[in-house]
Symmetry: C2
Amino acid sequence: MEEGQINNLSLKDDEEDIVDPWNVASKSETGIDYEKLIKRFGSQKIDEALIERFEKVTGRKAHHLLRRGIFFSHRDLHTILNHYESGKKFYLYTGRGPSSESMHIGHIIPFMFTKWLQDVFKVPLVIQLTDDEKALWRDIKVEDARKMAFNNAKDIIAAGFDPANTFIFNDLDFIGKCPAFYQNMVRIQKCVTFNQAKGIFGFGESDVIGKISFPSIEAAPAFSTSFPFIFGDNVLPCLVPCAIDQDPYFRMTRDVAARLKLPKPALLHASFLPALQGAQHKMSSSDPNASIFLNDTPKQIKNKINKYAFSGGQPTIEEHRQKGGNTQVDISYQYLKFFLEDDERLAEVKKMYESGELLTGELKRIAIDTITPVIQQYQTRRAQVTDDVLRQFFELRKLEF
Amino acid sequence: MEEGQINNLSLKDDEEDIVDPWNVASKSETGIDYEKLIKRFGSQKIDEALIERFEKVTGRKAHHLLRRGIFFSHRDLHTILNHYESGKKFYLYTGRGPSSESMHIGHIIPFMFTKWLQDVFKVPLVIQLTDDEKALWRDIKVEDARKMAFNNAKDIIAAGFDPANTFIFNDLDFIGKCPAFYQNMVRIQKCVTFNQAKGIFGFGESDVIGKISFPSIEAAPAFSTSFPFIFGDNVLPCLVPCAIDQDPYFRMTRDVAARLKLPKPALLHASFLPALQGAQHKMSSSDPNASIFLNDTPKQIKNKINKYAFSGGQPTIEEHRQKGGNTQVDISYQYLKFFLEDDERLAEVKKMYESGELLTGELKRIAIDTITPVIQQYQTRRAQVTDDVLRQFFELRKLEF
């Protein structure tokens, strides 16, 4: 789950948004056109009917990230809901390509949402850290990639996970500890040709051989048989909450599942948290000024939003009062959609900003006051994640379910 | 270490011998032109001077397979001998692509020679069974490939190995038990592009992605750091006795070693034991009439040699007495080169056959009388290889050295 470099892509006007596991970019200041992406990828939109169905089956109000279309697309969520409704078990699988930099608020969103899903469904969760991918794609040594994975795992745990039902693993260690996982890798590798991998991922002849077989490694956790210590002989389907750029891996995995006579993974696709500078790019650790990090101080958060958050406001107060602000491109407002849980308050802010009643500085203040306590609470949890806690999550063991 | 199907290649007159990890064939009735192969592969001939050097350093008469040019080519054997002479340690690495059929006498030759090398140098040995390769290349399920590996391991152990200094592993289980091994796989995969793998192994775009990254798996055991439970932190060079068709893997491994700043594996290349029908093909398990199996009875051995062993004799006794037989193409004589240890007796047989004094039937009798007791002794050892013995060899542990 490799993240692209910001600003390494310049799109021409006639080009579509770029969304693949290594690059995400749009030429539009409203960001990626997610409706178009659903058509291109052949996934399904999460519509009102599905959200209602979700609420009926789970007996819970849908998460604001679902209600607001931030998780906007899916594959086979209906199947998982039917499965759950009939009293059967499934599990959650998500992951991350670790990085040396601190994780930013965009990284933690899918994990917070996954934690919520886990609480709603009471299901086990496996989290893959693809340190092998980082070693293969970047100029990073195997031993350094492993360290990054362990550091990032602490950041992820602080989203609130419980070792009783959550297993976290880094490939560079785990693959050497679980023969069933490697055996599934081989089964998967046998189903996919170079040509197919080229078609799905855009691999070329000058790519190293490790990249070419890597997709089998992100696919394997989608099969419960890869984790016999958790699931025993049970063959369970899984639901994968992930950013939309990871979908190519799971399109492949779903094809392979059919050939291996295993359940296809279901998917929930998230859109990207935009960079401070605007929605043309997603937030990226490699540009500190584009990102709010999970270890930023309240002062840093305040300064970054005030200084860098792209504004949808008008050039002068007079013009702003008259025409109002544009919430479609305003980054502070976009962040509120991710972090302000209160629907009424969000609607009120939107109305006030678009009417010109609320000035850009005031909107930024609201964003700062919303995001800062979320990060502070996160930091409190993060301080409690010791090496001992980390070890509990990485231990091969049964999970509650 | 996949073995090609016999007769699946028909070479045109203007084509060279085919020797790659999956296919071996020659259009000549004297078989592969090994002198040409040395030039094509860029390896070194094992000459008289090297054999003398070997005998001086080890204080042992060279094995008849070395003296007779059956192990005919090498890479860096001088380096290993210098290393050994200065009192430093190395290890041996060899392997096999397991098959469902019984192993034949051609398969056991390199293991018998390896056992001899191990006795001479008093070094540890690792033996890789590439059951993952079989699952990837053939229509064989992962679980069946594993079983083949365990069965073949018993056949290999019966060559006389000692669990005190020999570790045997099958990839489909071992890779899931040794993180250091997988980490080395990733390091190797990072050094080889698809283009390079294509150039070395002839991979195409329709090959499955598991094949394309497989070479890293045959390369990894050539680095002592892949086995920390055996070698601890010691970085030792290795010597790989193998059939010449495996050389492409180790040409690649040697290039990678230089980039990883690890010792390049040294190599000893064997020629092939010819099929009963003639030296155009190597002996192959897939054709029972072309092979003498390790579980054949004395009667089967006798019948096969009498019925199928290609003769270098003349059409009539009169013509044979007059012109003599051709030992270059006579398969019974070729087998004697592999199995009759007594140099004087072999020279005598050669002289008598070439002079016409010895008839084909008589030569076959000598071959039968030479091979049968070798196989009977082998079978006695094989009967003692229980599941318990097998487990000892597969256990991850320190080895004596």
